[in-house]
């Protein structure tokens, strides 16, 4: 019994420790509750620290859903949560479609036949659906048109009436002015009266114009806001048309653009020329045929080695961004930690580096990007054949990320901006080591290397990791901007492309990307917290 209890306890405290280290302390009462520890207190904590925040977040989402559709500019409407969710599904579908096409391109034999059959069946279905939807669309279009005409006709009538009446009024005023001016000449009226009348006329004229403008705006409003029903049907139809195009493209990749098929065609060509080579009698013909055999062989080989030209999708971009940020982060850490330790150990080094750190720390990532673009570019005059990129394209997983100069200078920008927090924190960590520890080292007559590994690094680690955590956060933020500007494939480029698309779903896509960036950033941060806490001696609370 007591053995069981202690076992349960060790599980419990193990779990609690894990939660604590990973920075998810909020789940602490849940674990305690599961083990039956002071249930009423735990429930109270759960309500306070879990339920209430969840309700609050739900409230925020609700407020977003209510406010967003009401907030519109000429550039578009703020998307509501449902539209953002739709953006997620669309992006995911795009990713799946690329996967499908890739599989189609590579499929062979029976599998290919099966795929063709299934795609053709779906295509048939969708085409039938399209016919129906097209009918519906034209119906909706007609009804909407009549609807718009209906709401427009009183407005245009009003505008026309307004124009006529304004014109009449103005003519009346003009004639009045004419008579008045005659009276001025006669001496029955003063010049002052004339000028005030004219000023009044100008004012009225402007007012009339304003009035007309208002009605015109109303008309424009009606015209520019087609009813929801039409937009919905249009969008449904467009989505279907895109899907049908996709299915046709798949058929293409299963048919004439299929790698196996292309190889087969090239192979047939090869056989033909080989036969020709055998039959050749004259030396000139022999030579020519031999040449074409070699050529055909090369062609077969080349085609067999082709890979599917994948379109970029968001999940690919996420991987690439993560890879880039880690490369940048590692470079930053490799530079920052040694330099930081030197600064912390030696005040002269610190004094030397202080001006450099203080000047370059506040420089914007955009500036760094432009500088690295030039600096890095000079190292890779011909990226296609440069040994570094050739090497990168041979490493299995990394080759799929398509390393290119744009990625290198994005990573350098990340490194440059992520460098400073780690450097400064390391220096601080080293210089604030307890003097007693150093004295002990002196007494023990430890060498420099031992002093470093036994005393200096271990005791400064918590601050070093605190710095690295800030660095990674900074790097992730900088990367998005760097990618947007440099056009290096990644989340930043995704956001920029969406902004440039300016389509009706672009805004929703941008907000979707905002969540993706945020959630990934959150997990990166948690990861650093785990590292930081696992090297800390004290039990200092992880800050959110």
């Amino acid at each position: 019994m007591s053995k069981d209890d202690s076992k349960m306890d060790s599980v419990k405290y193990g779990l609690l420790k894990t939660i604590d280290v990973s920075g998810f302390r909020v789940f602490d009462p849940v674990v305690r509750l599961m083990f039956g520890e002071e249930p009423s207190k735990q429930v109270g904590e759960i309500v306070r620290y879990m339920i209430v925040p969840i309700i609050f977040v739900a409230f925020c989402v609700g407020a977003w859903a209510v406010i967003a559709p009401r907030h519109k500019t000429k550039a578009g409407r703020v998307p509501d949560p449902i539209q953002v969710w739709d953006a997620y599904t669309i992006n995911d579908t795009l990713h799946d479609r690329e996967n499908e096409k890739e599989a189609d391109f590579e499929s062979l034999g029976e599998q290919r036949e099966q795929r063709i059959a299934s795609v053709e069946a779906t295509l048939k279905e969708k085409e039938a659906e399209q016919v129906l939807l097209k009918e519906k669309l034209s119906e909706v279009e007609i009804s909407v048109k009549s609807q718009i005409d209906e709401s427009l006709s009183p407005l245009t009538a009003r505008l026309d009436a307004l124009k006529v009446s304004n014109k009449k009024a103005e003519e009346a005023r003009k004639s009045k002015i004419a008579t008045l001016s005659e009276q001025v000449i006669d001496g029955t009226s003063t010049e002052e009266e004339l000028t005030t009348l004219m000023a009044k006329n100008e004012k009225l004229k402007d007012e009339a114009k304003q009035e007309e403008k208002q009605v015109k705006e109303l008309i424009d409003d009606v015209k520019s806001n087609p009813p929801k029903a039409l937009k919905k049907t249009q969008m449904a139809y467009n989505a279907l048309a895109i899907e049908i195009a996709h299915l046709n493209k798949r058929l293409d990749y299963l048919g004439k653009s299929n790698r196996g098929e292309k190889v087969a065609v090239a192979q047939a060509g090869l056989e033909k020329v080989e036969e020709k080579l055998k039959d050749a009698e004259k030396p000139a013909a022999l030579l020519a045929s031999a040449k074409s055999v070699v050529r055909s062989q090369e062609k077969v080989e080349r085609i067999a080695g082709q890979s599917y030209p994948r379109g970029t999708t968001i999940w690919f971009q996420v991987w690439r961004s993560l890879f880039t940020v880690f490369i940048g982060f590692i470079i930053a850490a490799l530079v920052a930690i040694p330099v930081g330790i030197m600064c912390g150990l030696n005040r002269v080094v610190m004094a030397c580096l202080t001006p450099i750190i203080s000047i370059f720390k506040p420089v914007s990532p955009v500036v760094w990007l432009l500088i690295f673009q030039i600096v890095v570019g000079a190292f890779f005059p011909n990226p296609d054949t440069h040994p570094f990129f050739v090497m990168m394209s041979q490493i299995p997983w990394i080759s799929s990320l398509k390393i290119n100069p744009a990625m290198v200078y994005s990573a350098c920008t990340v490194a440059m901006c992520a460098l400073w927090p780690a450097l400064v924190n390391t220096a601080l960590g080293v210089s604030s080591i307890d003097q007693d520890h150093l004295n002990v080292a002196k007494v023990l007559k430890l060498g420099l290397w031992q002093r470093l590994t036994k005393i200096i690094i271990p005791s400064s680690l918590p601050l070093v990791f605190a710095g690295l955590r800030i660095s990674l956060g900074v790097g992730w933020m900088v990367l998005i901007a760097a990618e947007a500007l440099s056009g290096s494939e990644g989340l930043g480029k995704y956001v920029w492309d969406q902004y440039q698309n300016g389509g009706s779903t672009s805004f929703a896509n941008i907000i979707f990307a905002c969540f993706v960036v945020g959630i990934i950033g959150f997990f990166l941060d948690r990861m650093m917290i785990v590292l930081q806490r696992s090297v800390s001696f004290d039990d200092g609370a992880a800050v959110v």
């Binding site: 058929l251 744009a406 440039q500 389509g503």
Partner: protein, 465 residues
């Protein structure tokens, strides 16, 4: 069922074409009649290519060549990726990140003569004619209407000249400010077009000098660079009061009702060359056969885009719009792209006009790299001071010849003709590269590519030699 059978037919046709092409090669390999040595099978130096484009509808030939499988049929695996702006696109072509790209006509010329980034860029394919518009903000349009009551109808008479803009410009200058307008790149067609349009009404758009690389010296209207996709939002933000840009960014202004397109470049210069397919000289030298294969695919894409039925209706444009509206290509809404690409142009909500030649991708032998097109851009660079010193007429000719490569084009065309994929009349086989003199400009001046100096001197505003 029907889908399958058409598909099979297509496959068979293709096979037949391939076989006949291959057969031609082999069967007549030693016979002198079919000019055999001229057309050996293309040995591709490189078969996985990466091309860049800017999100504009006139990137269509590249996208269509990929999506409709024309690249595939040449044995090319092509990736097309959007670029953030023209400068980055050019840099990526120069540093080898991209094999080639959809470029402004002025870009290869400017790069070759060293205005901006210097690099020898060449082109063997003109992607399209026309396709740009000038849009002004609602405010400016209201004032233009006030100045010229003839514009105050739902469908004003075209072409609309910049005359009614003159007092708006003056008013602004009286307030100590200058009217701001946007164009997409210093050596873009748009820059020269909006300058042409303004200058033809006597409004000075500013000169480039060796010190002033922004081109605003003596300007009455200041032009600044904004990437195409940002034009509508920059206009809406009030930073500029008008812009000259390609599609769909004029239509976007109509749809969002933030501006009014007043004129198109079709009115400024009827059938003016617009974008080219540019590669570096180095790339062209290293990959001569691949270059021909790429041009072949692009010619076929252009032809596909301009396919018409018996009534002259463009039959493939709707499908092209669907493809272009995908988020990885132009990404604007299908309805917006369709507004200008299917033979119409919407000037105001009330003013949708038929403009069958707003986008020309193949007609009028337009895909041929004409020297005279190159010379026109060079004359404009000289006119506005981007070329700082006077050059001889021979220089214009030589420079155009360094950049435009009709030989590559003709090689590709010959192969397509042999395969029966184009007509003999589609290509100017024996031209000297200069189109006949034309005066299809908004101000009626005559342009003859063989007399560049006279042409430069015929303008009222701008440098004279």
């Amino acid at each position: 069922m029907s889908a399958k059978s058409t598909f099979e037919k297509l496959l068979l046709c293709l096979l037949a074409v391939c076989l006949t092409a291959a057969g031609n090669n082999l069967a007549f390999g030693v016979e002198p009649v079919a000019a055999p040595e001229d057309l050996p099978e293309l040995e591709l130096e490189k078969d996985e290519l990466k091309f860049g484009f800017i999100k504009l509808t006139d990137c269509a030939p590249l996208v269509i060549a990929k999506e409709k499988g024309f690249f595939d049929e040449e044995g090319l695996q092509v990736e097309v990726t959007p670029q953030p702006n023209w400068k980055q696109l050019l840099d990526n072509v120069i540093n080898g990140e991209l094999d080639g790209a959809h470029m402004l006509s002025g870009q290869p010329l400017a790069a070759t003569i060293g205005f901006g980034t210097k690099a020898h860029i060449v082109t063997a394919f003109t992607m399209d004619l026309n396709g740009n518009g000038i849009t002004v903000s609602n405010d400016v349009w209201d004032k233009m209407v006030e100045n010229d009551p003839a514009l105050d109808t739902p469908t004003p008479q075209h072409p609309i000249k910049a005359d009614s803009l003159k007092s708006v410009v003056q008013e602004k200058m009286d307030d100590g400010e200058k009217l701001q307008m946007g164009m997409v790149f210093p050596v873009s067609t748009h820059n020269y077009e909006i300058r042409y349009w303004l200058a033809s009404a006597g409004i000075h758009p500013g000169m480039y000098t060796t010190e002033d690389i922004k081109g605003i010296t003596d300007a009455q209207v200041e032009l600044s660079v904004t990437p195409p996709p940002q034009m509508p939002s920059t206009l809406e933000a009030g930073i500029i009061s008008g812009y000259c840009v390609g599609e769909p960014w004029n239509q976007q202004a109509v749809v969002k009702s933030i501006g009014v397109p007043v004129t198109t470049n079709y009115d400024i210069w009827k059938n003016n060359p617009e974008k080219v397919f540019g590669v570096t000289k180095q790339w062209a030298d290293d990959n001569p056969n691949t270059h021909v294969a790429v041009v072949k695919a692009l010619i076929r894409a252009g032809k596909w885009l301009d396919e018409t039925d018996a009534d002259g209706k463009l039959v493939n444009r709707e499908e092209a719009c669907r493809i272009l509206s995908q988020p990885n290509y132009v990404g604007a809404d299908f309805e917006v792209i369709r507004n200008s690409m299917t033979g119409f142009f919407v000037f105001q909500r009330s003013d949708k006009r038929e403009m069958p030649d707003f986008n020309v991708f193949f007609k009028y032998q337009c895909t041929y790299p004409w020297y005279s097109d190159g010379v026109w851009f060079l004359t404009q660079m000289r006119r506005w001071g981007q070329i700082s010193e006077a050059k001889s007429a021979a220089w214009y000719d030589e420079t155009a010849k360094r950049v435009y490569l009709p030989d590559v084009y003709l090689d590709a065309a010959k192969r397509l003709l042999a395969a029966g994929l184009i007509e003999e009349s589609d290509v100017p086989w024996d031209t000297d590269g200069y189109r006949p003199a034309t005066s299809d400009f908004i101000d009626g001046l005559e342009y003859d590519g063989k007399k560049p100096i006279e042409y430069i001197n015929s303008h009222a505003i701008g440098n004279k030699d």
